[in-house]
């Protein structure tokens, strides 16, 4: 294991460096950021200067500060949503694969229908019902991405439940939860961990897209997607400041992808 970690590919090293930097921003945002998240510090749309490295936004808040707090809000939100999606998806997948019969059928067919509607369109429909709010966004995205997690879990678990050791556990009369925790989960760790990384990327992009459309995170909270939306007018004047939060999103998702690739490569036991 130590030998393997010794030769991290450059892409994965880049990914780990970026994720570490972002984590620092997430954890220490109030310490690093020069101003407050919602603090108005000057005139709107000030140009880049020593005092405000990336200028100010549409309401006169410091852009750098909001970028740092944006890391905190965006990443935390995406993490919570991803975990929730996993909770829904893996639970449905494992329970369906063990119980089989009509429970499995019912879950499978419902997911088929949910996945037949394009994700963004379905999210827009659901958000019209609930009205745009932070909680609604998290729940809606978790439900939609959860269907994708379910598909993978069901496929992985489908191959596991036919194994003798699962059958033996069932014959011993172990409970559903015990079988999931002790027999299925340990054997499904690698694919689920890789899926966790990829799903985080999709969730992250999904939430930022909704925020960009003005339907995700509500102002005045700093979130990268909505920051692009709020300052988009600057672009027509040739100012690239609004692209910074968008670039921050892109860099993080690419990095996570790199790490997942490396992880998959390691767990599959392939050598270069």
């Amino acid at each position: 294991m130590a030998r393997r970690i010794g030769k991290i590919p450059p892409t994965a090293a880049f990914g780990i460096a970026v994720v570490t930097t972002y984590s620092v921003a997430v954890l220490f945002a109030p310490v690093i950021a020069p101003y407050g998240q919602t603090e108005v510090v000057g005139a709107p749309f000030l140009p880049w200067s020593g005092e405000h490295p990336f200028g100010t936004d549409n309401l006169g808040r410091d852009m750098l500060t909001r970028l740092i707090y944006g890391a905190r809000n965006s990443v935390a939100l995406a993490l919570v949503t991803t975990l929730l999606a996993f909770l829904i998806g893996t639970a449905a997948g494992f329970v369906g694969s063990i119980l089989k019969g009509w429970t499995d059928m019912a879950i499978g067919r419902s997911v088929d229908v949910l996945m037949a509607i394009p994700a963004l369109i379905f999210a827009l429909l659901l958000l019209t019902i609930t009205g745009p709010s932070l909680v609604a966004t998290v729940l809606v995205v978790a439900l939609i991405e959860g269907t994708r997690v379910y598909r993978l879990t069901r496929a992985v678990a489908g191959n596991l439940v036919v194994m003798e050791f699962v059958e033996a556990a069932q014959l011993r009369g172990e409970s559903l939860w015990w079988i999931i925790r002790r027999e299925l989960l340990p054997n499904a760790t690698a694919p689920l961990a890789a899926e966790l990384g990829l799903r985080f990327c999709f969730v992250f992009l999904f939430i930022s897209a909704l925020s960009f459309l003005g339907l995700g995170v509500r102002p005045p909270l700093a979130e990268w997607g909505s920051m692009v939306r709020e300052n988009a007018t600057l672009i027509t004047y040739g100012d690239i400041t609004p692209l910074l939060p968008a670039a921050a999103i892109a860099i993080l998702t690419i990095s996570v992808n790199f790490i997942v690739d490396w992880f998959l490569h390691m767990t599959s036991g392939l050598e270069e």
């Binding site: 229908v113 369109i121 690419i254």
Partner: protein, 318 residues
């Protein structure tokens, strides 16, 4: 042939059921709206009689199952009801916009499909070369970047720095085709950047996988020319996945236009839908959702059926 027909019919039946279930979901979205619809539209100052009359007019006094079938029959005739925000007929609002969205998606596809297929075949032929790696990196970038990022980079570069295009893709119905194609080139190219790399990778994979199978080796050993090997033996087996890629991309484009439409302020269905969600104008959202879902499902259905119909194994059953 009998087996093939059975499979296609089964797939068609499943598609029809999916559509029906989705129409139920879309319809019941209104049921879940908090509060009374009539009260909400008329406002708090409306008298009880007015609200009751309005409820009758909307058919809200009927049981929901009856209303579903009335709604479904209306929708089948192209009547989506009236907008909750301004009372206009929804079908009038969406007709032109849907045409615009289809135009943009079709335009993007017309550029993307040939580029992706040609480059995908090239990548398959030059396996493990620099070009092959470049495609891998590009497709990773394309799926990792938010669409609005790509769109704004395009705007910054081509509309503002070089000044070739307008940053807004404003089209009107009476615009001549040439002007219209020029005005929508930037959003179409943005959509291309989002889908081409992915399509290319799928094409490459679908050509490479039959090329590695024993019957290709056999054909090679028989001394058939390489061109004949590819066209006669590899291509029929790669056709189904390639058709699938094309159809899935088209389906993706119809939906993916939402963000691009918002960035370029293009008068399409996606833009209307996003505006209506903010206003919580449920009837308009319903209509847009139904149209998007319908297009998406029909394209997927077509892909599946074409894939079944061109599968050599099913065409020549034992």
């Amino acid at each position: 042939m009998h087996q093939l027909l059975g499979l296609i019919l089964k797939r068609l039946g499943f598609g029809a059921i999916t559509l029906l279930v989705i129409s139920v979901i879309v319809f019941s979205a209104v049921e879940f709206l908090p509060g009374d619809l009539a009260q909400q539209v008329l406002g708090q100052s409306a008298t009880e009689e007015t609200v009751a009359a309005f409820r009758r007019e909307l058919g809200l006094d009927q049981p929901s199952v009856t209303r579903y079938f009335i709604w479904l029959a209306d929708v089948a005739h192209g009547d989506f009801g009236n907008s909750l925000a301004n009372g206009q007929a929804v079908s009038g609002l969406i007709a032109q916009r849907f045409a615009n969205t289809l135009f943009l998606a079709g335009y993007a596809a017309a550029i993307a499909v040939p580029i992706a297929l040609i480059l995908g075949v090239l990548a398959a032929l030059t396996r493990r070369s620099l070009f092959d790696r470049l495609i891998n990196i590009l497709s990773l970038g394309a799926i990792s970047m938010p669409e609005f990022f790509i769109a704004y980079i395009m705007v910054t570069l081509f509309a503002l720095k070089f000044g070739w295009f307008s940053p807004l893709a404003n089209v009107t119905p009476e615009m001549p085709l040439g002007t219209r194609l020029w005005a929508t080139l930037l959003p179409a190219l943005t959509l291309n950047l989002v889908v081409v790399a992915h399509m290319m990778r799928m094409t490459r994979a679908s050509i490479l996988s039959p090329m590695a199978s024993p019957y290709i080796e056999m054909a090679d050993l028989k001394g058939i020319t390489p061109l004949r090997v590819v066209i006669r033996h590899a291509l029929p087996n790669a056709l189904a996945p390639i058709i699938n890629v094309v159809a899935l991309t088209l389906a993706y484009l119809v939906v993916g236009v939402v963000i691009v439409e918002v960035v370029f302020v293009y008068p399409g269905l996606g833009q209307l839908m996003v505006d209506s969600v903010a206003k919580r104008d449920m009837t308009v959202v319903q209509a847009c959702c139904l149209i998007f879902a319908l297009t998406y499902i029909l394209l997927n259905l077509t892909a599946d059926i074409l894939a079944i119909a061109t599968n050599p194994r099913l065409l020549h059953p034992k």
